[in-house]
C-alpha cells in the first residue's frame, strides 16, 4: 500500500480555510503529523474489533465531510444523506456480487453514480429552501429503504435480505489481517478525500459556495451562478457520502435496506453538529462520537441506553454549542495567548 | 423640574465593538430632550441601550428606579415606549392588531378603547386602514402606525428614533404638532433623535450633541439654536 506522500502531508498542513473562522490548531503541521502517526500505528496496538470500529469512524467521517460541504459551506440542509450512503453501498455491493468487480474499483463508480444522482436531485431541490428542502431530502431518506425492498428489483438488490459480500485480503502478501488491511485502505481513502475537501473549500469554487451560503443576493450580483453551484455542491456532497457508503459496505460485508433508514441521516447530522458545522476536521470527532458514544451508553445502562445517548448529545450541545470546532478554537486561542506572552 | 430619565456613564457595545463611551444626560419630567449627531454617532444605539436592547453598563434610572439591569419588556411595562428606527411594526398583523399590541400590557381595558379612538383622531388614515396588514401600508403610514402604537402604551416617556424619516414635509409638520400636543397637553416626556435638527431644537428644551459615542456639547436647546458656530460646524444649517 502506498503510504501518504510527503507532499500530501504538507498539503494537509496548510491552514484550511482562512475565510471561515476555522480553528487553526488542527491545521498545525505537528498536530497533523502526530495524528497521522498515531493513526498508522494504532491497528498494531489494539484488538481487531477496535480496528474494525476505527475503520467505521473513518467511513462516517467521510460521509460527514460530504454533509458538511453541503450544509456547513453551502448552507443547504439535508435529511437525505442516508440515501446517498445507501446508493454508494448498493452500487459497490452489486458490482462485487454480480460482476465480480475488484472492491477498490467500486469506490469511483459509487462516487460517480452518487454525484450524478445528487446533482440531478439538487436541480429541482434548488427551488426549495430551509424546511422545504429538509422535507424533500427527508422524503428521499424515507423512500430509500422502501425502494430497496421493492420486489421487481429483488434480483439486483437481494430484497429485504440484502447482499452479503466477502472481506478482501491484504494484497502483495502484506503481513496484515483483513481488518488491519481494510483499516489502512480506508485511511488512505480518508486522507485523500479530506485533502480534496480542504482544497475545494479553499479554492475559488469554495469561496463561491460560501458566498451563496452567506448572502445569496450578493453572490448573484457578483455573477455567481447560484443554481449551478448549489447543484454541484449537492453532487459533490453526495459523492463523498456515496464513497463512504461503498467503503462501509466493504467493511461490514453486508448491505440491507434497513441499515439505511432515515436514522442514518440523523446519525450523520448529529456527527456533523458534534464535530462542528463548517469545519472539516470536525468530521473525525463527529464520526467517533456517533460510533462510540451509543456503545458507551449501552455499557452504562442496557435498558436506558437511548436515554443516556440523548442526554449526552444534549449535554454536549450545552457545553459546546458549536461542537468540537468551538472547543478546538478555544484551546487554540489559549495556546496562542500563551505563546505571545 | 426633576429628571424622569437619568443616564450616567453609559457604555454600550455590539459584541466586542464599543460604540458608546460613557454618555451622561437626562430627560426632565414632561420635558423634551433631543440627541443630535451625524451618521454613526451612536444615537440609535443610545436609545437601544436605554431599552436594554444592546449590552450596556453604566447607570440608568427611570422615575427613580434603576433599570440598567432590567429586560426590554420590563422597561416597556414601566411606561417607556420606543419607536425604533425602521419603525418596528408587526408587518404581518393588521393595523388594529398592531395598535392593540401597543396596549397589551395595560390592565385598564376600558381606557384602551378610548385610546384607540384618540390615536385614530391623531392619524385618521390609520382608521381607514385598520383591517389592513401593516406591511402593506406606505412608509409614512407605517411611521404613523409606529407612533400610534407607542401612544397606546400611555407612556410616560417616548423614545423616538427619527420619527420624521420618510414623511412628506407637510406630514412632518403635522407630526411635530402632534408631538407638541402630546408633550404639552398630556405631559409625555420625549427623547427625540432627529436628522432635522432645526425642527428638533424647536420642540426640545435640552439638546445633546453626539460624536462617535461621546457627548461633545450639551445645553439648553435655545442656546444651541442661537449659537451660530455650533450650528455651522455640527448641525450644518
Amino acid at each position: 500500500m502506498p503510504a501518504p506522500s510527503e507532499e500530501m502531508m504538507e498539503a494537509i498542513a496548510e491552514p484550511a480555510v482562512p475565510e471561515v473562522s476555522a480553528p487553526r490548531l488542527v491545521g498545525h503541521r505537528s498536530v497533523i503529523f502526530a495524528t497521522l502517526a498515531i493513526a498508522l500505528v494504532l491497528p498494531f496496538l489494539v484488538q481487531s474489533f477496535l480496528t474494525f470500529q476505527l475503520t467505521l469512524v473513518l467511513v462516517y467521517a467521510i460521509a460527514i465531510i460530504g454533509l458538511n460541504l453541503l450544509t456547513g459551506f453551502n448552507g443547504q440542509f439535508s435529511l437525505g444523506h442516508s440515501a446517498f450512503y445507501a446508493l454508494g453501498a448498493y452500487v459497490a455491493a452489486m458490482l462485487m456480487d454480480k460482476v465480480n468487480f475488484p472492491y477498490a474499483a467500486t469506490l469511483p463508480v459509487a462516487g460517480i453514480a452518487c454525484f450524478v444522482f445528487g446533482f440531478l436531485f439538487g436541480l429541482p431541490a434548488l427551488r426549495l429552501e430551509g424546511v422545504y428542502l429538509a422535507l424533500a431530502t427527508f422524503a428521499l431518506a424515507v423512500a430509500t429503504p422502501q425502494i430497496l425492498k421493492l420486489s421487481p428489483l429483488e434480483y439486483w438488490t437481494g430484497g429485504v435480505q440484502g447482499i452479503v459480500i466477502s472481506k478482501p485480503d491484504a494484497p502483495y502478501g502484506l503481513p496484515l489481517t483483513q481488518d488491519q488491511w481494510l483499516y489502512f485502505f480506508t485511511l488512505l481513502v480518508t486522507v485523500i478525500m479530506t485533502l480534496l475537501a480542504h482544497n475545494l473549500v479553499a479554492s475559488r469554487t469554495g469561496r463561491a459556495m460560501m458566498a451563496i451560503r452567506d448572502n445569496p443576493t450578493a453572490a448573484r450580483s457578483m455573477g455567481i451562478n447560484i443554481a449551478l453551484y448549489k447543484s454541484l455542491t449537492f453532487g459533490v456532497s453526495a459523492l463523498y457520502t456515496g464513497v463512504a457508503g461503498a467503503l462501509g459496505a466493504i467493511v461490514v460485508q453486508f448491505v440491507a435496506p434497513d441499515s439505511f433508514t432515515f436514522f442514518l441521516s440523523i446519525t450523520l447530522l448529529v456527527g456533523l453538529v458534534v464535530g462542528g458545522v463548517g469545519w472539516i476536521p470536525g468530521a473525525f470527532f463527529g464520526g467517533a462520537f456517533v460510533l462510540f458514544v451509543p456503545n458507551f451508553a449501552e455499557s452504562i445502562s442496557k435498558g436506558l441506553s437511548g436515554a443516556v445517548y440523548g442526554v449526552m448529545i444534549i449535554l454536549l450541545i450545552f457545553m459546546l454549542p458549536t461542537g468540537a470546532a468551538g472547543l478546538v478554537r478555544a484551546v487554540t486561542q489559549r495556546l496562542r495567548g500563551q505563546n505571545i506572552r | 423640574m426633576t429628571a424622569l430619565l437619568d443616564v450616567y456613564g453609559l457604555h454600550a457595545s455590539y459584541g466586542p465593538t464599543r460604540v458608546l463611551h460613557g454618555l451622561s444626560f437626562s430627560v426632565s419630567d414632561r420635558g423634551v430632550t433631543t440627541l443630535l449627531g451625524g451618521n454613526g454617532a451612536g444615537k440609535t444605539t443610545t436609545l437601544r441601550a436605554i431599552c436594554g436592547m444592546v449590552a450596556r453598563t453604566g447607570e440608568i434610572t427611570f422615575a427613580g428606579q434603576t433599570i440598567t439591569r432590567s429586560s426590554t419588556e420590563h422597561i416597556a411595562r414601566l411606561g417607556v415606549a420606543h419607536v425604533p428606527d425602521g419603525r418596528g411594526t408587526f408587518t404581518r398583523l393588521t393595523v388594529e392588531e398592531n395598535l392593540e399590541l401597543g396596549a397589551i400590557t395595560r390592565r385598564d381595558r376600558n381606557d384602551v378603547v378610548d385610546d384607540l379612538e384618540r390615536v385614530f383622531g391623531y392619524f385618521p388614515v390609520l382608521q381607514k386602514r385598520r383591517g389592513q396588514q401593516a406591511g402593506t401600508l406606505s412608509g409614512g403610514e407605517q411611521q404613523m402606525l409606529a407612533i400610534g402604537r407607542a401612544l397606546m402604551l400611555r407612556p410616560r416617556l417616548m423614545l423616538l428614533d427619527e420619527p420624521s424619516f420618510g414623511l412628506a414635509p407637510r406630514l412632518v409638520h403635522e407630526l411635530f404638532d402632534i408631538l407638541t400636543t402630546l408633550n404639552k397637553r398630556e405631559g409625555v416626556s420625549l427623547l427625540l433623535v432627529e436628522q432635522n435638527a432645526a425642527l428638533a431644537l424647536e420642540l426640545a428644551d435640552h439638546a445633546y450633541l453626539l460624536e462617535t459615542g461621546r457627548i461633545v456639547f450639551s445645553g439648553a436647546a435655545r442656546e444651541i439654536r442661537e449659537d451660530e458656530k455650533i450650528r455651522r460646524s455640527y448641525l450644518g444649517y
Binding site: 450544509t71 425492498k149 447530522l269 440523548g310 444534549i314 | 436592547m53 426590554t72 397589551i104
Partner: protein, 292 residues
C-alpha cells in the same frame, strides 16, 4: 366509483391522524421557528401517561384531561430546561438537541412500559357510523376532536390577548419586547400548547395504531409532510395538509399497481415534493424567512 369514494373516506380518516400531529408541529414551529423532531415521541410519552392513569383505574376523561395538563407542563419544562439555554445556538444545534430528546423519550418509555404493543381505549366506540361501514365511531370522534382543536386555536389566536401576544412574539421578537411582551414566556407557552395538542393527538391515534414506544415514528413523518404541505404557518393548513397526505397515501396504495402498496409513503412524499416545487410556500403558508 364506489371504491374511489370509499378510499377517499378511509384516507380522510387516516389523514385526521396526520392532521392532529401536524397541528402540534405547526404550533411549535410558530413558537420557535423550528421543526421539532421529538414531537412524535413527546406525544407518545403523553399517551403512555394516559394509559398508565387508566391502568390505575382513572376513568377515560379524567385520564385524558390530566394527561393534557401534565403534557402542557412537560412542554413548558422542556422549553425552560432544554431549549432556553441554547436559544442563541445555531439551527443545527437545535436539531441535534431534538434528536437527543427523541432518543431519551423513546428509550425511557421502553424502559418504563416495555416495547410490547398495548391496546388503548377509545371513548367513542368502534361501531360503524353508517351502515356502509366507511367510517367508524372512533374515526368520526377523531375528526370532531381535530376540528374542535382547530376552532379552539383559531379563536385563541384571533380573539385573545395572549394569542395576539404569542403571534407578535413569533413574528418579531424584538418589537414584541418593545411593547412589553415577555417573549420567553410566550415561547414556553407555545411549547406547552404544542405538547398538549400532541398529547391529544397521541390519545386519538393510539386506539388505531396501538400503543408502543415506536408508534409515532411513521405518523410523525406523515405529520411533517402534512404540516409542510399546508405551509407550516397556518393551523388550518396543517389540518388540510394532513388530510391530503392521508388521501394521497390511500389512493396510491389502492390504484397504483404492484409498487403502489410497497411505496405508499414514498409516492405520497414524492407528490408533496412536486407540489412544493411548484408552490414553495406550501398551500396556505406565508413566505418563510430563511429559518429551518
Amino acid at each position: 366509483m364506489e371504491l374511489l369514494l370509499q378510499q377517499i373516506l378511509a384516507g380522510l380518516a387516516t389523514g385526521t391522524i396526520y392532521a392532529c400531529i401536524a397541528l402540534a408541529i405547526v404550533m411549535t414551529y410558530q413558537a420557535i421557528g423550528h421543526l421539532n423532531f421529538a414531537q412524535g415521541e413527546m406525544a407518545m410519552f403523553s399517551t403512555f401517561i394516559a394509559w398508565q392513569l387508566t391502568q390505575w383505574g382513572a376513568p377515560y376523561w379524567v385520564a385524558f384531561f390530566v394527561t393534557v395538563a401534565v403534557s402542557f407542563a412537560g412542554g413548558v419544562l422542556i422549553e425552560l430546561i432544554v431549549l432556553r439555554p441554547i436559544q442563541h445556538a445555531p439551527v443545527l444545534s437545535h436539531v441535534a438537541v431534538f434528536i437527543g430528546l427523541l432518543a431519551i423519550l423513546n428509550s425511557l418509555a421502553g424502559f418504563l412500559w416495555d416495547f410490547n404493543v398495548k391496546p388503548f381505549p377509545t371513548p367513542f366506540g368502534t361501531a360503524p357510523l353508517f351502515a356502509n361501514g366507511f367510517i367508524d365511531a372512533h374515526q368520526a370522534g377523531m375528526i370532531a376532536v381535530t376540528l374542535f382543536l382547530l376552532a379552539f386555536l383559531y379563536v385563541f389566536f384571533r380573539f385573545t390577548r395572549v394569542g395576539l401576544a404569542m403571534r407578535a412574539a413569533a413574528h418579531d421578537p424584538v418589537s414584541a419586547r418593545l411593547v412589553g411582551i415577555r417573549v420567553g414566556w410566550m415561547t414556553a407557552l407555545g411549547w406547552g400548547m404544542a405538547a398538549a395538542i400532541g398529547a391529544i393527538a397521541g390519545m386519538m391515534i393510539a386506539p388505531v395504531v396501538f400503543l408502543e414506544p415506536n408508534m409515532m415514528l411513521g405518523v410523525l413523518l406523515y405529520g411533517f409532510a402534512g404540516a409542510v404541505l399546508g405551509g407550516l404557518t397556518s393551523p388550518a393548513g396543517a389540518v388540510i395538509g394532513g388530510l391530503i397526505v392521508g388521501v394521497i397515501e390511500n389512493l396510491a396504495g389502492t390504484f397504483i399497481p404492484v409498487i403502489g402498496g410497497e411505496l405508499k409513503l414514498t409516492i405520497a412524499l414524492a407528490i408533496i415534493v412536486v407540489v412544493l416545487v411548484m408552490k414553495p410556500q406550501g398551500l396556505l403558508g406565508r413566505p418563510v424567512l430563511h429559518r429551518v
